[in-house]
């Protein structure tokens, strides 16, 4: 079973995975969606860290430290950010309140790292927005006909018109509207930046 969800609040995400586990859906992996195994009888606690690594050795050393202390790494890659760990109820040291953090300050740094991630992405996207800004582009996107460059397109008709028109449409859309993806994504990044900042302040 695959479920699609998006969380910024890591505590909510941990609780949701726990809840799924009590219903018999064991969290297996995360690609784009969350992959669950049905009829998993072992109840588990899940904890999420936020960490990226430059070198593979650092990543392996990190996972070794968690696994030495009884946390199984289930999802996450060297550069994914979110790292998912679980502890089974069969584990001797199992406690509902068991955590991968032993103080609130270190737990809150997860959100600080997320802020940094969204903040730097915002700066990157805003510079793309400025670099690729083209005034004539703005005017053209208000007048979609001008986005088609095939000579004599609007004078032709019948099959040849539809063929050229449909063929060029994806290019026309890209010409006119691709640029808008930069400011739109930049705004989304700002929104996530503010949300993770609020979560950081609240934790």
């Amino acid at each position: 079973m695959i479920k699609y969800k998006f969380f910024l609040d890591l505590t909510k995400e941990e609780n949701w995975l726990r809840e799924m586990s009590t219903k018999g859906h064991g969290f297996q992996n995360k690609k784009i969606g969350y992959q669950f195994e049905q009829n998993d009888t072992s109840e588990s606690v899940y904890r999420i860290d936020y960490q990226t690594f430059k070198h593979r050795e650092d990543y392996l050393d990190y996972i070794a430290l968690f696994e030495d202390s009884g946390w199984i790494h289930i999802a996450g890659t060297k550069s994914s950010g979110k790292q998912y760990f679980k502890k089974d109820e069969t584990n001797e040291a199992f406690k509902e309140e068991y955590d991968i953090f032993s103080d609130g300050k270190s737990k809150a740094t997860r959100y600080k790292k997320m802020m940094y991630y969204f903040g730097s992405n915002f700066l990157f996207l805003i510079s793309l927005t400025i670099v690729f800004f083209d005034e004539s582009n703005l005017v053209k996107s208000l007048n979609p006909k001008s986005l088609y460059l095939t000579p004599g397109l609007w004078q032709s008709n019948g099959l040849s018109f539809w063929f050229s028109f449909l063929f060029e449409t994806p290019f026309a859309l890209a010409r006119g509207f691709l640029w808008y993806l930069f400011p739109v994504s930049a705004i989304i990044c700002v929104y996530y930046y503010i949300k993770s900042r609020l979560l950081w302040k609240a934790s």
Partner: protein, 107 residues
């Protein structure tokens, strides 16, 4: 008085530096801290990892050679040893003056 801005050390940092007088990898550090503090201080993996990262950046500890390919081993640096000693002296002073003041109050 020009005291190091890193002082006083937090309890966990103090214990990590103390544990790294001899080389150790992450999990061994956790066990050593629990032993040295007689079970008073227990560090979870995520917290320890973040703390080691900060100490490496501050050059108070450094990676060292080990046979274990998967686990990184760390040891305290000269700067770390100096800081540990300075915090020790600070605490000894506090213990001494506390004893003196308490004695004064009793008589």
């Amino acid at each position: 008085m020009n005291r190091d801005s890193n002082l006083p050390l937090t309890e966990t940092v103090y214990y990590i530096l103390l544990a790294l007088i001899e080389p150790a990898h992450g999990y061994l550090i956790m066990q050593k801290i629990e032993m040295l503090s007689e079970g008073q201080v227990r560090m979870a993996a995520g917290t320890l990892y973040g703390a080691l990262d900060n100490l490496l950046k501050a050059k108070l500890i450094k990676p060292t050679e080990s046979e274990d390919k998967r686990r990184k081993t760390y040891i305290i640096t000269e700067k770390g040893t100096e800081l540990l000693r300075a915090d020790h002296d600070r605490m000894v002073h506090m213990v001494n003056i506390t004893n003196d003041c308490m004695k004064g109050g009793e008589s």
